[in-house]
């Protein structure tokens, strides 16, 4: 699911910038620290297993995924280990072929969302004034569409094209990222090293790239993980609703929908793609949780800590 609880105005809690040699590879050491936690290891393992099925799968297909090879909803048998789908196509072949595009699209949408959101958020916070106002109003407007509805609106207008799905999901992520990055940048741009750079006459674009961005790595990594999970959820959901590759292409989301009329005949045609999608999102989300714990350094999820301090319940920070 995709409740977008905005996360982390938590740069103040982030690991303090250490010596430059370490900071240069901060993202790598953070990833490594996350992998060494129990959650991180489990999350990464799940992601890798499903990722492997999706990426290597197309090379191992026993039958053509589009060929009608047996009866409809055939039970698993020797030559068709998972049985067949609603048209009598080999299910194993379709499962192996149906994941890679979902992965590619989700990653592309995440890149668009995180990059666009980071640029918008940084510019808003660093340039302030009218730029800030315009960017944040745009953010509010995009945020008042539920993400799935936003994507559906664009698809309805421009037609169900794959690049449009990627773009729509990416754009609908950007405002969430922008808010997180903006509040982090507001904090960073008060720091001495930014003031020094300003006094040296560095241009704003350069300051943002050289001084601000490196300090946003922790929140950006957490955001990227969250957005990747949501991208998979939304893109698979759109495919489930019938907005994906046109038939006869195999797609895990589409397969769940087209095969569910035959649940009592060959339930694997629904269960296998559903389980693969579930394991993938559980994997990415669990790994993100591990990164958040390492990078932000709180026991709670960052968005929860932020909400508590925001509303000022209980102990003041």
């Amino acid at each position: 699911m995709a409740v977008n609880i905005p996360a982390t105005p938590a740069v103040s809690r982030a690991t303090p910038p250490a010596a430059s040699g370490i900071r240069r590879h901060q993202w790598a050491s953070m990833l490594w620290a996350a992998v060494r936690t129990q959650r991180g290891a489990i999350g990464l393992a799940l992601t890798c297993v499903v990722g492997l099925v999706a990426v290597v799968g197309p090379l191992l297909i026993p039958h053509s995924p589009d060929a009608l090879v047996t009866t409809e909803f055939a039970r698993p048998s020797g030559s068709f280990p998972l049985g067949s789908d609603f048209l009598g196509r080999d299910l194993l072949s379709r499962v192996l072929d149906g994941g890679w595009l979902l992965l590619v699209m989700a990653i592309a949408a995440t890149v668009i969302g995180v990059a666009g959101g980071a640029m918008a958020g940084m510019s808003a916070a660093y340039l302030r004034g009218h730029t800030d106002g315009i960017i944040m109003r745009t953010v509010d407007v995009i945020l008042s569409f539920p993400q799935l509805v936003f994507a559906l609106l664009l698809l309805a207008l421009l037609g169900p094209k794959l690049w449009l799905i990627v773009l729509a999901v990416g754009i609908s992520h950007a405002p969430q990222v922008a808010r997180v990055v903006r509040s982090a940048t507001l904090d960073i741009s008060e720091r001495d090293y930014v003031k020094v750079a300003e006094l040296q006459g560095m241009r704003p674009a350069r300051i943002m790239a050289k001084e601000v961005l490196p300090n946003l790595i922790a929140p950006l990594m957490v955001e990227a993980g969250l957005r990747l999970t949501y991208s998979i959820v939304i893109i698979a959901g759109l495919a489930f609703l019938g907005f994906g590759q046109p038939p006869p292409a195999a797609n895990w989301g589409t397969m769940i929908n087209e095969n569910r009329i035959g649940l009592s005949l060959n339930p694997w045609a629904v269960i296998i793609p559903a389980v693969l999608i579930a394991l993938l999102t559980i994997g990415t989300n669990t790994f993100t949780d591990a990164i958040a714990r390492v990078a932000i350094g709180v026991e709670r999820r960052p968005e929860e800590a932020a909400l508590i301090s925001d509303l000022g319940t209980g102990v003041a920070e």
Binding site: M1, V141, L157, I256, T281, I282, N285, D289, E304, T313
Partner: protein, 337 residues
Amino acid sequence: MTVTTAPVQPAPTASRGDAHPIARLVRRRTAFGVLTLFLVSVIVFVATEILPGNAAYAVLGRNSNPARLHALEIQLHLNRPAVDQYWTWLSGLFTGSLGHSLSNGESVWSLIAPRLVDSAVLVLVTGLIGSVIGVALGAAAALRKDGWFDHVSSVIALAVTSLPDFVVAIGLIILLSTVVWQVLPAVSLLPPGTYPWNSPELLILPVATLVIVIVPYIMRMMRAAMIESLESDYVEMARLKGVPEWRIVLVHALPNAIAPTIQVIGLNFLYLAGGIVIVEYVFNFPGIGQELVYAVNGRDIPVIQFVVVVLAAFYVFANILADVVALAATPRRRIPR
């Protein structure tokens, strides 16, 4: 930390003698909300207008020929100036004259109105059940922090928050209405002219799906807030005074943990605005979400415009409501300074 607009500002101290802070917040947020909605309506409208070869072309697609295109343009009022069209449409939003569905010619309002009721019932029932379960589970986990229930529930919560809602729905269908047991209907197709309260058993699976999806968020927030407040000075003080434990939990800790949780409950109502689309589609539940999917498939522009604006309006105002209620539930923020 909210979805649509600026974070709740700390109560400004400068405006002495001004209105009550909550009244001021309501006014400010409502003004922003109306502005946002206005922009949303412009975008929804303009998007259908400026896109390559206007809405009439989008509807007819490859089947278009100049005569049909022209006829449809007149039907959609596309031959009039844009501002004029927008004004007609906007005033139609308030008077209920929203034009006609392109797929079956029915008036948009009479098509959507009964579906709005169905969706509202779905969202409200889900929100209520989900909030109660979420708050109870979260409080229970916090009271036995690091106990077995806390660990098990936090792992399950993390897993469930990752699941797409259609996977949860399909899982429930497999478990309860097809493969494993056949105890509940797999489709929630309401007989025409009836409402969900006429056949509550049809609501069970859609509501269960959405409840499963929102409970972990509410639960985790409640747990975090409750732990925060159980570790606070005033709870410590109450313990030292010898206040009985049940009173500490119910009177001292719970009210202070509820404010940030209300915020998250609000966010989950917002989520439901999008979540109903997939769940209604899965269960064939005749709400506006299902209609939106049909309309997008059929490129039924008037229906899409209206449903999207309704969902956005719900989103914006639920958000304001969540902020205001959360503020009202935070004792130290509601005192005028």
